[in-house]
């Protein structure tokens, strides 16, 4: 478990029974994802994150999208409705609540469809029962989670607390920093999720507003290409067979029979799911540029380790500190499940102080990092902002200076 994997090949494995070059939806050409993702020419586009989700789904050869409105994912859900109207998505349904949406997603995926949906904040929590069910049923559904506040007093602004609830569902959990990550990982995410030795749902998380509502430059391939269609015959469990797992276990659950065999079955089935999460590493490497983390200047004594837009704020803080002669390195964690245990250990081996800025009040990422590092008193959990508050890079600068015992007056201008 938690072993670092070296890439055997930097290629995305594609089902042999899909016909590359055949016509997809709206005359798109079904393209080898390796060609599409790594070799095709890209053009810069100036788009919001919501528009970028639409751009990715347009090229995803998607069977089913289920939509339900909740800020800040509503625009993306509506934009995929436009794609359906244009003919780029085969089916589009509107759910009655997030719980219903995720249940509908399960139905569609059991039936052998490539399924996408979007949710956020309270919606993620309302739907929660379904996520470990998806994983337990080995359904390769992709849900884009545009994180926002969940705890009272309620906020519609960005806050990553909901990700903490997803960590032990058995889903893959990735955290995009930018709209570019989001775009590349939506497309790549289907390819990883649908591998027979993975075949698990993906929670592709991004920070609401900071990614979804922010206009940024994103490199996109031509829209005449699309991914190969999902091949349900590569599923490691039979589709919709009432007498075989996983359906057999759901229609007649073991909870009705408290005995040793039922406990063993549950445990071994769950172990296999978490082993499948681990097996996703090798398939994820080509999608994530060769590693589950990105590093910059990790030979420095002070490091920022972060995920999502906390990385972006960290990058600006490093610039500001550089002007004052304080040198700080950076680790960007891209995949949270599986967690890049070995990679983070290696990257932080020489660090004396490790700062973990986070957009939530509890600091779950710092806890994850403390759990895997030797000498974890090096880890300073913070700064934290919550409930939608912005984390100005000046706040990170202040936290780092405080940690180093340097006096600072940066925040005095706040009034």
């Amino acid at each position: 478990m938690n072993k670092k994997v070296e890439p055997k090949s930097n290629k995305i494995l594609v089902s042999e029974s899909v016909n590359l070059g055949e016509e997809g939806l709206k005359g798109q050409k079904v393209t080898d994802p390796n060609v599409m993702m790594f070799e095709s020419e890209r053009e810069p586009n100036f788009l919001t994150g919501s528009e970028v989700i639409k751009a990715a789904i347009k090229r995803a050869n998607l069977d089913v999208m289920i939509a339900y409105p909740i800020t800040p994912q509503s625009e993306a859900a509506a934009l995929i409705g436009e794609l359906f109207a244009e003919g780029y998505v085969r089916e589009y349904f509107r759910g009655e609540s997030e719980f219903a949406v995720m249940s509908q997603c399960a139905g569609a995926a059991f039936g052998g469809a490539r399924v996408f949906t979007t949710t956020a904040g309270p919606g993620t929590l309302r739907a929660m029962e379904n996520f470990p069910m998806w994983a337990g049923s080995r359904l390769p559904i992709q849900v884009c989670v545009t994180c926002r506040g969940i705890n009272s007093p309620l906020s519609i602004q960005p806050d990553t607390l909901e990700m903490a609830y997803l960590l032990e569902t058995g889903m893959l959990v990735w955290h995009a920093e930018t709209a570019q990550d989001l775009y590349d990982w939506i497309l790549g995410g289907f390819m990883v999720s649908e591998q027979p030795d993975v075949h698990l749902p993906l929670a592709l998380c991004c920070d609401g507003f900071f990614v979804t509502h922010t206009k940024d430059t994103v490199m996109l391939q031509g829209e005449e290409m699309c991914l190969p269609r999902y091949d349900p015959y590569r599923s490691p469990v039979p589709c919709m067979d009432m007498e075989c797992p996983p359906i057999r276990m759901m229609r007649d659950p073991f909870i009705m029979k408290s005995n040793y065999i039922s406990y063993m079955t549950h445990a071994s089935w769950q172990q296999e799911i978490h082993a499948a999460v681990e097996r996703s590493r090798k398939h994820t490497l080509p999608i994530m540029n060769g590693s589950l983390i990105d590093t910059e200047n990790v030979d420095r004594e002070i490091l920022i380790v972060a995920s999502g837009t906390a990385v972006s704020q960290g990058r600006e803080a490093i610039r500001l500190l550089e002007e004052e002669g304080i040198k700080v390195g950076l680790v960007k964690i891209k995949s949270i499940r599986p967690f890049p245990t070995e990679e983070v250990r290696e990257a932080t081996a020489n660090a004396k102080t490790i700062f973990v800025p986070e957009f939530n009040i509890r600091g779950w990422l710092a806890r994850e990092i403390k759990a895997i590092l030797p000498n974890n008193e090096r880890v300073i959990a913070g700064p934290h902002v919550a409930g939608g508050m912005t984390m100005p890079s000046e706040v990170i600068v202040e936290e780092i200076k405080k940690g180093l015992g340097i006096k600072s007056a940066t925040m005095d201008r706040r009034g």
């Binding site: 100036f46 800020t71 509503s74 625009e75 509506a78 934009l79 436009e82 519609i156 602004q157 960005p158 507003f209 900071f210 509502h213 922010t214 206009k215 940024d216 430059t217 837009t309 990385v311 972006s312 704020q313 990058r315 600006e316 508050m389 912005t390 984390m391 100005p392 890079s393 000046e394 201008r413 706040r414 009034g415």
Partner: protein
């Protein structure tokens, strides 16, 4: 000798829901993008409703921008509605909190809404204040107060030169000339303003005219002021 390069400019726009503060920030960032500069824009608001506080931010600069979210330390602040000041409909108090030394505040008002203390604090930090009656300008040129944001964009451009007029014209074409999917509130307002004009071209023309008029006015103002955006001196 090469031209001096403008440093990163962080613009904070405080307005009320429905005034187009979000659209204004997007347009400034889009125009900057068309000029080959780096830019990012994003909104910040609560549940969508008219007359509630709404903010947006445009960050424009010569190198890649990572920073996002609420702008706490802006170089330029634009106030789209007097109530931001008089009724404190802003996310920060006072509305100019965090403004950088040598910064600029542009207020949509024909009257001086600042207290003596405000004036003193801003003067101490060498912050310039420019009042322009953007809503009256919008009513004159666009025949609708919905063009207030256009006049404010023009005022910002004329004073700072952060983006130029041809790039803004291209950005307007992208935003209003094509099909655009936005949230319910924004879509309703888009429809409202399109109905005021027989043709889309007329809407674009009116928007352009509002921007150009305000640009000329603030260009004139800045000549007599001590305001100058920060630049890198290159050899």
């Amino acid at each position: 000798m090469s031209e001096p390069v403008m440093k990163r400019m962080n613009i904070r726009i405080s307005g009320l829901g429905g005034q187009g503060a979000v659209t204004a920030a997007h347009l400034l960032a889009m125009a900057a993008n068309k000029m080959g500069k780096y830019s990012i824009s994003n909104p910040f608001f609560g549940a969508e409703k008219r007359m509630a506080p709404a903010e947006s931010y445009a960050r424009i600069g010569p190198e890649k921008i990572y920073d996002r979210g609420e702008l706490v330390f802006p170089d330029v602040i634009m106030i789209f509605h007097p109530q931001v000041i008089t009724m404190q409909k802003s996310y920060t108090a006072p509305f100019y909190s965090g403004i950088k030394k040598g910064g600029l505040v542009i207020i949509n008002s024909d009257a001086d809404l600042l207290t003596a203390e405000d004036h003193k604090r801003l003067e101490d930090d060498n912050v310039s204040v420019y009042c322009i009656d953007a809503t009256t300008l919008a009513l004159e040129i666009g025949k609708t107060e919905l063009s207030t944001n256009m006049a404010m964009i023009g005022a910002c451009m004329g004073a700072t030169k952060v983006v130029d007029l041809p790039s803004m014209e291209e950005a307007l074409q992208d935003r209003f000339g094509k099909k655009y999917v936005a949230s319910g509130g924004t879509a309703t307002l888009d429809e409202a303003i399109k109905k005021k004009y027989a043709k889309k071209e007329q809407l674009l023309q009116a928007n352009n005219d509002a921007i150009k008029r305000a640009y000329a006015m603030s260009d004139e103002w800045v000549k007599g002021s001590s305001y100058a955006p920060a630049v890198y001196e290159t050899a």
